[in-house]
Structures are given as C-alpha cells and as structure tokens.
C-alpha cells in the first residue's frame, strides 16, 4: 500500500511538472480554443503554441525559477549580456518531452494496477486504467481549471490505434479466423448495420415521442450517432477478453467482428456525415447507391491494400539477410504505411493493417531469422500493450472536462438501453440464421457472451470527437453519451464479464499448451478430414483449404519465401519445424540438467559444512558464511580434507587426496572463483534479478560438471587408484581458469582451506537454480548414508528440491507474482526430466506463465520416478560421448 502511495505522489509530481500546453492540442492542431491559463495569459503570445504554463505554480519542481522571464526560447531570445553556462530550453523539447512523459505516466499507472493481483482478478485492467485516467484528469483539472490534455482523434487514429491493430493482425490465428470468416463477416457487416440503424431510428422515435425534451437533432444526425456508436471496439474487446479465457471459437467471433466492423463503421460514418452536410432534401436514390458502392470499395479496397502490403513485407524479408538488425523494422514500417496509405485513400485503415498482419505473418516468420521473429513478436506486444494502456488512461482523462458534459437523461439512458438490447437481438437473430448453416452451431451460452461482449471503446469516442459542431448542434451531448457508453461497457460489462463467464459455465480455452501427441493428432486429423472429403466427393472447408494450400505452395511460397526457408517447410514440416527447434532447445537443457544433477551431488559437501558449523546458518546468505570460513580456517586445518576435487569421489579416494593438498588449493581457488560471483548473483536475485541469465556462466557450469563427471567416472571405474592423476589434470585446468583472470578474491581462497570449497558449492547451489536453504536438514540425513555414489538417494533428492521453492524466489512470488513464475520457470529449467522432448511443447509456452506452471507440474512429479536413470549408467553415457 505504501508503495502505491509513493507512486501516486510521484505521479502527481510528474504531472505538475509536465502540466503545460496540451500535447494533444498541439499535435492535432485542432481549433480548440486555446486554454486560458490564468498564469500565462500575460506572457504567451502564440495561443496554439507551447506556452510557459505551470512553472510558477509547480513550486516543488526545482526548475520553477528558471522558467520565469520567458527566456525559455533558449536560442535567440533577447540580447544576452553574458555567456550563459546552461540555459533553460523548455520550448525546444516540450512536445516530445510531454509525449514521453505521458507515456511514462500511463505505464506507471499500469505498474500500480498490476502490482495488486487481487484487484485485477476482479476488475479488468482496462477499467482500472480508465479510473486512473479519472484521477489524473482530476489532477490536471485541479491545477489548470481546464482540461489541457485529451485524446484527440488524430493522435488516436494515427498513432495509437495502428499499433494495437497490427499486433492483432499479426497474432491472428489464421486457420481459426478463416474457418469462421463467414460468421464473422455476417456479424461485422449485417450486425453493425443493424445496430446503427436500430439505435438511430429508435432514438429518433423516442425523440419524436418527446422522451428527451428539446433537442436539435434530426433523423440523419441520429443515424450518424447510431453509426458511430454501433461498432464494437477492438481495443476494448481485446483488453477484456484477454483476461477471460473463453473458448477460441467464441473469442474469434467477437474479436474478428470487432476488427472487421471497422470497414462498416467508417463507411456508415462517412456516408451519414456526408448526408448530414448535404441535408435531407438532397438525398436521393443515387446518393444511397453511391453509399452502398462506397462500402464495398472502402472495405475491399482496404483489405486489398493490406494484402498488397503484406506481400510486400514478405517479399522484402527475402532479401534482408545482410541487414538482420533492422529486419524486424520493416514489418512495423510497412505495416504502418499500409495503415496510412489506406487512410490517405480514405479506405478502411483498420482492415488494411489487419490483413497486412494476417498475410505477412507466415512468410516473415519463415523468412526472417529466428531472433528477428522473436523481436518482432515482442516488439509488437510492447507497442500494442503500451498504446492500449495510453488509450485507456486518456479515455479516462478526457472525461474530466466541464466543456463536453451535457446531460440529457433521456438521451443517455435510452442510448444505453438501445445499444444493449439491440446488440442482443442482433446477435441472437444472426446466430439463429447462421446455425442453420454452421457445422458446429454456436451455443446459447456463447450467444449470451457474444451479446454481452459488445464493448464500445475509443474508436467510438474518436469518431464522436470528429463530428463537426457547425453541423451537429448537440455534438457535446453525443460526446458525453459516447463516453458514458464506453465507461458503461468497458467498466461495468468488463467487470461482470468474468463472473458471468464463470456462472454460465462458458466453455473455456484450454489453459495449457497442446501436448505433443495432440499436435500430431491434429495433423493426422487434418489429413483425415481432407481424405474423407476427397473420398466422399464433397467440397467442404477442408477441401478448399487443401486446394488453397496447394495453390499457396505452388505459387505464393515460391515467390515470397527464401529458397532456404521454402526447403524447410514441406507440408507437414511447418509444424515439426517447431518441434525440432524445441528438440534442439531440450538438448541444451538436458545438458544443463545434467549439470544440475551434479550440483545435487555437490551439495553433500555443503551438507558437510553444515554439520560442522551448525544448521543455524542454513538460511544465511553465503557472504556471511564466507566470513565464517575465515574464522574457522584453523579448525579446518586440523580436519581431514573433504573430497573437494571431484565431488563424486568415493570416500576411499579421500585418503589419496591428502597427498595432493597443494594441488587441491589450486582447485579450491578455482572453485572459489565461482563463489565470489555466485554470491553476487545470489544477492541480486533477492531483488528480483534474473538469477540465471548469464549464458557464459551456464556454459561454464555445464563444462565444469561434465568434466568432474568424467573424472568421477574414471575414478569409479578404476577404483581407488588415480586421484593424483586426476588432480593433476584438474590443476592444469585450474591454471587455465585462473589465467582467465576470473578470481575476485584470491587471497581468501588460498588460506581458507577446504571449507571454502564448500562455499563454492554452496554458491553453485545458489545459482544452481533450485536447491534451497531449507532443504539442508534433509540433506544431512543423506550425508549420514555417506554413499556418495549411492543412486538410491538420487530420486529423493530430486523430489525434495523440486518441491521446494528457493527462498528468494518464494519471496519474489509474494511480491509480484507476475514475475515470479517465469523466473522460477527459468530457474527450474535444469530440473526437467531426462528426455526433454517430452516437455518440448510445454516448454515454449510463451504466452502464459501460468499455463507453463500447470503443465509443468505433472511431468516434473513424474520425472522423479520415471527412468531418468540413476547416476552410474549416466556416466557411462557421458564417456561414450
């Protein structure tokens, strides 16, 4: 709670600092009357331009004094009397500065919201962001007495929206989308037209009936209003439905509709806007036909435009091999260009960018380097999520403005009622028709959710703001009604969506990733269905899909894909390529796992340490223990050295070790070098740093454990014999290691004897991903068994330490459970069972960490028991390698 308050305070400070001219105003260049700040009216000549507002009033901002005398122009102001060392040049940077600040503020809001999961699990993020917008808006209002920042159509449509939509198109599940395309189009086109017409006409009827008092709105204006309020908003839908995991068909219906109905909305809006300008008397059949024609041109033209740009991207990425760094940039730039081009030609920009994403996803993913693909994916998400956040915050901010609020109870309540009712009617009626033709009918419950998921959002608001006040007298009423509709749907319906989905027992999406067998089965399935259609002589979806695939393989891939990529995607291969990738990953991971198994064994050494110094240190940080070593170094001198060379060494070999103390110390030194670094890492990890990010380190650990494994194998094979030889061998390596200069604290390690080594393994353990301090007591009992090579203990140890969560991770989980799972998942990597391929499909679940956790558990449990053979056979494997 305290942290939240601190954030809020910080925010308000930021706000006060940044409170200046409206960035939106400026970028939009709208004719909005420049806000009359009482403190700037005297000094600022240019109204639409940046003004020096706010510096005087901020007070707490350290630079308030510099802003005084309009020297802010920096260069070329008045005559200067002396050389200024630094000058205050706010004007110079004000616009980008404000933009950046607002982005920062919005994202900070998101941090605050996401900090508390109890809240977000009840109230969707979008609703919370809007509420934050209210608060921020209130602050601005309180300071400025006027709303200087608001969401303007230009900013929204040209800068914020494309990012969200491009991501939606790029991440579109193509197969699902196209197999439901018919239904989606019906909902998007007919449904939206129905909504627009029915809402507009009903409102007009109620007006005529006198339900709203005296309003200057004609039929056409009502229809215009209906058309802008009719469309379901993609941004709001994504935001809400992302958090309720409904089944994929339902999702694609709502989502697809919200994307595709933009074409309809834009056309309807433009047509009615033109009609309003023309006036009722001018409208004849020709105009209406023109309107209908323009619909087709706008919608299909937009889609075509996107298609062309998608092909362009795909083509371009064929030749970007040598400029891999900016390769991902092409996707964004061309995507954005497709949006702007469509906008320029007054085609449907949203459709354009959606289809651009849909078309190019397959080819760019094949053409580009794996890393570039990953970059594109991630950057898409960053942009989309970021701008979505900004949109919602600004939707909230825009509301705090006296100017726009015109209250008309009848109009507002009736609008709310009508959009709600007509949406339900429309969905049920259309589904009823569709179900006559659908192979798998849409169920009743799904229809309820579909009707309830008709969320309106920023698109409607943007359109409402774009209305021309000279033609529509009640523009402000329309804006405020739109805002209320948006708040009602996003906040109220958004909040109730989750309980409703649970209550109605809507079929949910599967949480986990597909298992491998399901993937294979899916593939079998596709072929089976195609075959059956072939045999039965029916032309169905599968047949068409098959034919399309053939066409695509024959022509499009040849043109759009790199030859190398083409080779890599033979029919079935597209799926198996991914599996192979995972295989490769699992191969590496298996290596790590072996390494980590090694650490388990290492821990026996540290158990030994615990025995010596008491269990009370088990929870203490390793650096404290390092101090301990120095204190007790004398003790250790007396003691028999613990098997420090090879951790797997049999006890018998310990005797041999004595002769090689000197060599040992070198070895210890090497081990110690680990300790130093590990300690640091360990400490960082407490503050949620990634424990296991350093690739070199992992590599090093892996190599080291492989080496010691080899040695232990040798010693096991040859019995007691050649410790000397081994240690010599070791020594050589140590020297190599040392020459690498990775020893942070040499001196200590020299004098501190074998305990030090134990620390190092303690350190290893810390970054050894999994074992936790809590597990020590258990280990002590194993130690009692003392059969270091005894395989019987291995499974137990595994199970112990896998169940436990390392303390620092556990802590992290409390603090921010968003981070923790992924971190833990990463940390756990090495513990995955022996044959990692089995895990492969689970492993790369990149979307939800939860699903990863869920999917991971059964396998991990099983791994404790399943063959992953006990150590000895393993080692033989290693040698054979």
């Amino acid at each position: 709670m305290a942290s939240t308050w601190r954030f809020a305070l910080f925010l308000s400070v930021l706000l006060l600092v940044s409170r200046g001219p409206s960035l939106a105003n400026e970028e939009a260049g709208t004719t909005e009357p420049s806000s009359g700040h009482e403190d700037t009216s005297s000094s600022s000549p240019a109204s639409g331009h940046d003004t020096e507002s706010g510096h005087d009033t901020t007070g707490d901002a350290g630079h308030g004094d510099t802003g005084h005398g309009d020297t802010g122009d920096g260069h070329g102001g008045g005559p200067i009397t002396t050389l200024p060392i630094v000058t205050w040049r706010w004007h110079h940077v004000s616009t980008p500065y404000l933009v950046a600040l607002w982005i920062l503020v919005s994202w900070l809001c998101k941090i605050i919201i996401e900090a508390n999961h109890h809240v977000t699990s009840v109230i969707p993020e979008s609703a919370l962001l809007i509420c934050f917008g209210f608060i921020l808006g209130g602050m601005i209002w309180g300071a400025d007495k006027v709303q200087t920042f608001k969401l303007t159509p230009t900013v929204f449509f040209l800068y914020l929206l494309p990012q969200v939509i491009l991501d939606a198109g790029y991440a579109m599940p193509n197969k699902l989308f196209f197999s439901n395309l018919g239904a989606i189009l019906i909902y998007a086109i007919i449904g939206t037209c129905w909504n627009a017409a029915s809402v507009g006409l009903s409102l007009w009827g109620c007006h005529k009936g006198g339900a709203m008092g005296d309003l200057d709105i004609g039929l056409l204006q009502y229809l215009l209003f209906g058309s802008l309020i009719a469309a379901v908003d993609p941004v709001a839908v994504i935001a809400v439905f992302e958090q309720v995991h409904v089944n994929e068909v339902l999702f694609i219906m709502v989502f697809g509709e919200s994307l595709l109905n933009d074409g309809v909305t834009v056309v309807l809006f433009n047509v009615f806007d033109a009609f309003v300008s023309l006036g009722g008397s001018q409208i004849d059949a020709v105009e209406i036909i023109k309107g209908i024609v323009s619909f087709f041109v706008v919608a299909f033209g937009g889609s075509l435009m996107g298609f062309v740009f998608g092909l362009l991207i795909s083509l371009l990425t064929r030749w970007t091999k040598n400029i891999q760094i900016i390769e991902p940039g092409f996707v964004f730039i061309l995507g954005y260009l497709s949006y702007l081009t469509a906008e320029m030609l007054s085609l449907s920009a949203i459709l354009s960018i959606v289809f651009c994403g849909i078309c190019c996803q397959k080819y760019i993913n094949a053409n580009m380097d794996e890393r570039s693909v990953e970059t594109v994916r991630y950057t898409m998400k960053v942009l989309a999520n970021g701008s979505e956040t900004i949109i919602f915050v600004f939707l909230g901010i825009s509301a705090i403005d006296k100017e726009i609020w015109v209250w008309n109870t009848g109009f507002i309540l009736l609008t709310l009622l009508f959009i709600f009712v007509y949406r339900i009617i429309g969905v049920f009626f259309l589904t009823w028709i569709l179900n006559k033709f659908r192979l798998v009918p849409v169920g009743f419950i799904d229809q309820v959710i579909m009707s309830y998921g008709g969320l309106r959002g920023a698109v409607a608001y943007g359109l409402a703001v774009m209305l021309d006040e000279s033609k529509i007298k009640e523009k402000n009423l329309m804006i405020s009604t739109t805002l209320i509709v948006v708040y009602f749907t996003v906040i109220l319906q958004g909040i109730t969506m989750k309980p409703l989905v649970t209550w109605l027992k809507v079929k949910r999406a599967k949480v986990s990733e597909l298992t491998l067998i399901e993937k294979v089965q899916n593939k079998v399935f596709d072929h089976l269905l195609i075959a059956i259609e072939d045999i039965s002589g029916q032309i169905g979806h599968n047949y068409m899909r098959d034919k399309w695939k053939h066409f695509e393989d024959k022509w499009m891939t040849g043109l759009l894909m790199k030859p190398s990529a083409r080779k890599n995607r033979d029919h079935v291969f597209s799926v198996f390529h991914q599996l192979n990738l995972k295989d490769a990953m699992s191969y590496v991971a298996e290596g790590e796992r072996r390494g980590s198994l090694e650490f388990v064994r290492n821990e026996r050494a540290s158990v030994d340490f615990k025995k010596k110094f008491g269990d009370e240190f088990s929870e203490v940080m390793p650096d404290i223990m390092a101090d301990m070593t120095e204190d007790h170094s004398s003790v250790s001198d007396v003691r028999d050295p613990v098997p420090s060379v090879s951790l797997d060494m049999h006890e018998q070999t310990m005797k041999g070790m004595r002769e090689t103390e000197g060599i040992n110390s070198h070895h210890l030194l090497q081990q110690h070098l680990y300790k130093g670094r590990k300690q640091h890492r360990h400490r960082y990890s407490r503050s949620h740093f990634n424990v296991n990010e350093d690739e070199n380190e992992v590599q090093e650990i892996f190599q080291r454990t492989m080496r010691s494994r080899l040695e232990s194998f040798k010693s096991a094979k040859m019995g007691v014999a050649p410790p000397k030889k081994i240690t010599k061998h070791k020594q050589k390596e140590q020297q190599q290691k040392m020459s690498n200069g990775k020893t942070p604290d040499k001196g200590k390690s020299y004098q501190s004897g074998d305990e030090d080594f134990e620390f190092s393994s303690e350190g290893d353990r810390a970054s050894g991903y999994n074992a936790s301090g809590d597990s020590f007591p258990m280990r002590v009992t194993y130690r009692a068994g003392a059969g270091i090579e005894n395989p019987a203990f291995m499974p137990d140890i595994d199970s112990m330490s896998t169940v436990q969560i390392p303390p620092w991770l556990a802590e992290a989980e409390h603090d921010s459970s968003t981070v923790a799972p992924s971190q833990r998942a990463q940390v756990r990597l090495p513990w995955t069972p022996s044959n990692l391929r089995r895990l492969a499909p689970l492993r790369t679940s990149s979307r939800s960490t939860d699903s990863f956790m869920l999917a991971d558990t059964p396998v991990r449990q099983q791994m404790d028991n399943l063959p992953p053979p006990p150590p000895p056979p393993y080692e033989e494997d290693d040698v054979q390698m």
């Binding site: 491998l516 593939k523 089976l528 269905l529 075959a531 072939d534 045999i535 002589g537 099983q862 028991n865």
Partner: protein, 216 residues
C-alpha cells in the same frame, strides 16, 4: 422434392438412413459417389481408393483407406480386414464424420466423442490388440512426415518417441524405472485427448447436392 421421393423409393435407403443418420439426399449423393469410385460395381476395393487423384498427395492415405476396410469400424463388433466393401459399409464408415446434431444431451455428446475417438484409435492400432504400441505410433508419424524426404525418418522417430514418453508420463504418472509402457490403451487415449474437442472437429459437411463432378 423430386429427389427426395426418388431417393426414398430406393430400396434399403430407409434402413441406411436409420442406421447412419444421413438424410436421403445425402445417401443419394454418397451413393452416386460410390458408384463413381467403384466404376459402377457393387463393391469397392483398395485400388479404387488409390485411384482418387486428390488423395494421392495425402501422406496418411494408406491408413485412411485401411480404415474403410476395417471391420471394427462397422459398428458390429467384428474384427479383421475385408477385401471389398459394399455401399452400406462405405456409408457406415462415412457416418463417423457426420456433424453432431444441434441438441445433444451430455451423455449423447460423450457417446459421439467416444465413437469418433474409437475410429481414430482403430486407425492407429493396426494390429488390433487394443493398444497403440510405440511401433505403431512411429509408423503414423513417419507417414505424416514422409513428404519431407530423408529428414523425415529420423525426426519422425524422435517425435514419436517423445510423444510416447509424454503419453507414458500423462497416463501412468508414476512409473518404476524397470516398468515398461507397452502402449496406449483406449482408455488412455480418451484421457490424452481429453481437451481435444473431437466432437466439434471431426466432422465434415455432407452436402445435399451433388458436387462430385467437380472433384475428380
């Protein structure tokens, strides 16, 4: 209407419609297709299937064709293979792919699901011993990958192995090291594909009109 009457007039159509759930028009269309495939004979043999051009590039065609000649798919508790099938068998096998009706009780849905999965299971379980062994599974995956050339064989093997291990881990959960997972039983198969909405996926649209002239 005329089509319906003439269809109903055909002997045995009523029976077939009851047995398979197809409408008369659908049966008629399928019958026509049957005749087309069999070159107007009463029975279909394997080589008739191989003659379908669109099927030629289907990697798992062999198994699919076998499914038509498998007695287990005839709803009669039979076993083993037949050499040729009549129209009734053809229709019965096809009926596995009929879309479910609009209103089903939970129990019916479960039955449909079981039936469809059984078909799939039988397709994999070539030796009819009630389990899909690793060998059998490998075979399927290999065929799936058969189009990818040399690379296919090795990949297929590892994918099949991995999938099998996964199956073992899901269905057996706890296994002793010396235990051996001999294969997927039908019960396991049901469990494995639990999240796989087969009842809404494994169906194709059987049109009432004749489109067979369009596809060779």
């Amino acid at each position: 209407m005329g089509a319906l009457q003439s269809a109903a007039g055909q002997p045995g159509y009523v029976d077939l419609a009851e047995k398979t759930g197809f409408s008369f028009e659908q049966i008629q269309v399928l019958h026509k297709r049957f005749k087309q495939l069999s070159h107007n004979e009463e029975t279909l043999r394997r080589d008739h299937f191989s003659g379908i051009p669109d099927l030629a590039c289907n990697p798992i065609r062999a198994q699919i064709i076998e499914a038509f000649f498998d007695r287990r798919n005839y709803h009669q508790n039979g076993e083993g293979m037949v050499q040729e099938i009549g129209f009734e068998e053809f229709l019965v096998v096809m009926s596995h792919f009929r879309p479910p009706s609009l209103h089903m009780t939970e129990e019916q849905r479960e039955n449909v699901r079981r039936e469809k999965l059984r078909f799939l299971f039988n397709m994999h379980d070539t030796d009819n011993d009630g389990t899909i062994t690793l060998e059998e599974y490998r075979h399927v995956v290999e065929e799936l990958l058969s189009r990818s050339g040399a690379l296919g064989k090795e990949t297929a093997k590892s994918i099949a192995d991995a999938a099998m291990l996964e199956v073992a881990s899901i269905s057996m959960g706890h296994m002793e090291p010396d235990e051996f997972y001999e294969g997927i039983t039908f019960e396991h198969f049901l469990k494995l594909l639990n999240g796989f909405e087969i009842e809404s996926k494994m169906n194709i649209r059987f049109l009432n009109m004749d489109t067979s002239t369009l596809c060779k």
